[in-house]
């Protein structure tokens, strides 16, 4: 119960436009939940609503059954990184974390530990304005980890990180979830999400498009298919079509079947007595699955920057 993030009918309207539209979700401890959606889909707004920074037009966002504002010393329950650049340019990372620690009664040694964890103990005394975006991200992650919270939220945490940094963030998310924490992370990098998330929430125009385990979303893609290699491709194609399986002939002796599990394709071939040389599943990438899911709700076309 402790670390559950639960949204019920959460909505946020600016003028006559719903940025978040009737969103209901339950995010559970022990999993990394990836939060996906096109630019302007309402991901950042949703996170701000959960953190009590913005007021919802209707609905509720609760963490462990309570609204954020009612949590005493909230940094010890919820750690969040929304915008790595949201720092006073003249303050050092160390002073920034020290102030956050004081505000929530977190022991000072946690500042050093968090800086150590994100690998920026050496740059902790530098003024924030002199930090690279990658370093700011690390500092923001340190701030989120400061209170050893059971719930963690990150908005685009790998922005500006180098490949080592990206891999480090991936490992960090996985280990935080393995420790039983609730990890909610938004990202644009599908390949990264595919490696990091267990569970996905996809929204578009503020509405929930799909919420499901990563594996289920990939399996559901039309691009996830069964590839069969056989010297009797034409016979098998006819057989599969007759059984209602969509099939395409990809090469002289290769077929691609969609809309049927690999077991069914194998069984149908066996029943027809057709010899197979290869039978395998070709999984869609998360990127492909995501493209299909959001094809109808892309708010802004190419060339627009994330808000």
């Amino acid at each position: 119960m402790g670390g559950v993030i639960s949204l019920k009918g959460l909505s946020k309207r600016y003028g006559d436009r719903f940025v978040v539209d009737d969103l209901s979700l339950e995010l559970k401890p022990g999993t990394v939940t990836g939060f996906l959606g096109p630019n302007g889909a309402g991901k950042s707004t949703t996170m701000r609503l959960v953190l009590g920074l913005d007021h919802p037009t209707s609905g509720t966002a609760l963490i462990g059954g309570r609204p954020y504002r009612e949590i005493r010393n909230p940094l010890r329950t919820v750690g969040a990184l929304l915008d790595a650049r949201a720092l006073h340019p003249g303050r050092s990372g160390y002073a920034h974390l020290a102030a956050l620690a004081r505000s929530n009664g977190i022991p000072r040694r946690r500042v050093e530990e968090a800086l150590e964890t994100v690998g920026m103990a050496g740059a902790a005394r530098k003024r924030a304005a002199t930090l690279s975006l990658g370093m700011s991200q690390r500092l923001g992650i340190a701030a989120a980890l400061l209170g050893d919270p059971e719930v963690l939220m990150f908005d685009e945490p790998v922005n500006g990180l180098d490949p080592d940094g990206v891999r480090w963030v991936r490992g960090l998310m996985r280990s935080l979830a393995a420790e039983g924490r609730t990890v909610f992370v938004s990202s644009h990098l599908m390949s990264e999400m595919q490696l990091t998330a267990d569970h996905l929430v996809v929204i578009g125009k503020g509405r929930l498009i799909v919420e499901a385990p990563l594996a289920e979303i990939i399996a559901g893609s039309s691009l996830t298919a069964v590839v069969v290699r056989t010297p009797y491709a034409r016979e098998l194609a006819a057989r599969l079509s007759a059984a209602g399986v969509a099939v395409a002939r990809q090469a002289e002796n290769e077929l691609v079947a969609t809309g049927a599990p690999i077991e069914r394709v194998g069984d149908l071939a066996h029943e027809a007595g057709i010899r197979l040389h290869e039978l395998r599943t070709r999984e869609a990438s998360l990127e492909q699955a995501y493209q299909e899911l959001t094809a109808h709700s892309v708010e802004y076309g190419a060339g627009k920057a994330e808000a």
């Binding site: 913005d54 005493r72 909230p74 919820v78 969040a80 102030a99 956050l100 505000s103 701030a143």
Partner: protein, 263 residues
């Protein structure tokens, strides 16, 4: 430890961890000294030119008048404690740590009180010493006195005045969010509007002008020589009451905006 105390402690650490704080304090001290020396020199010169035996200048009296100018360096400092957070977006981090809006505002307001009171007393003391040294010179006929009781009372009053003006600025800054807007509103309250009203010449406008923070502050600090041409026609206690009222109004406005608007 109470939530408010934790928040105050955090804000206190933030205040002293940026260079701009020291620049503003240095600026305030320099402005206090320059304005007090100019005003003190002018008062002494005038006294020398007058008829009969010239009465000596209390060294802290020009310092009280100098607050009208030096206050803006501290207004800038008080303003930055809130507007710099809105400019960078860091206010969202602050509100994540201190989600109860009133506690966040109270912490910011409480932090500037001791800082600005001390800044007022110290910069006032430096300026008083400078005025005393200048007017002790033969050029000004040594027309200066340093009565300890009066000087201490003046310096403490300057400290209280700066503290209240700074809290007022925090309130306005929270309501306005931007540095430009805050500076405009605070300048109009502390200087623009009272002078404008003073110039209209009507009695009602004059009465209103005298109740604004500029003259309420001077009344509270016991100024005898200012733009109205004489002492403010009400007591120091009433001056303090008006100052407190303006400060409270600014805080209420700041809190209302802070609660209602998205961060």
């Amino acid at each position: 430890m109470s939530i408010l105390w934790q928040a105050v402690s955090a804000e206190w650490g933030k205040l002293w961890s940026v260079r701009s704080t020291w620049w503003c304090l240095a600026g305030a001290t320099a402005l206090m000294m320059l304005s007090a020396l100019t005003l003190g020199g002018a008062t002494a010169t005038e006294a020398l030119r007058g008829e009969g035996a010239p009465s000596p200048v209390v060294a802290s009296e020009p310092v009280v008048s100098a607050t009208s100018f030096a206050q803006f360096a501290l207004v800038a400092l008080a303003m930055l404690t809130i507007t710099s957070e809105y400019a960078s977006g860091a206010v969202r981090v602050t509100l994540q740590a201190i989600p109860v809006r009133g506690v966040m505002l109270a912490a910011k307001a409480l932090v500037v009180v001791p800082a600005m009171a001390a800044a007022g007393v110290l910069s006032g003391a430096v300026a008083t010493a400078a005025v005393y040294l200048l007017l002790s010179a033969d050029l000004f006929g040594g027309l200066v006195v340093l009565p300890p009781g009066e000087v201490v009372a003046d310096l403490l009053a300057v400290g209280v005045f700066f503290a209240l003006v700074s809290v007022m600025t925090v309130g306005v800054g929270t309501a306005m969010r931007s540095a430009a807007g805050t500076l405009t509103v605070v300048f109009m309250l502390l200087m623009g509007l009272p002078l404008l009203l003073l110039m209209t010449g009507s009695q009602a406008a004059l009465d209103a002008s005298l109740r604004m923070p500029l003259f309420a502050g001077l009344a509270f600090m016991g100024s005898t020589d200012n733009l109205t041409g004489g002492p403010i026609p009400y007591s120091a206690g009433e001056g303090l009451a008006w100052l407190l009222a303006w400060t409270a109004a600014a805080l209420v406005a700041g809190h209302a905006v802070l609660r209602r608007r998205d961060a």
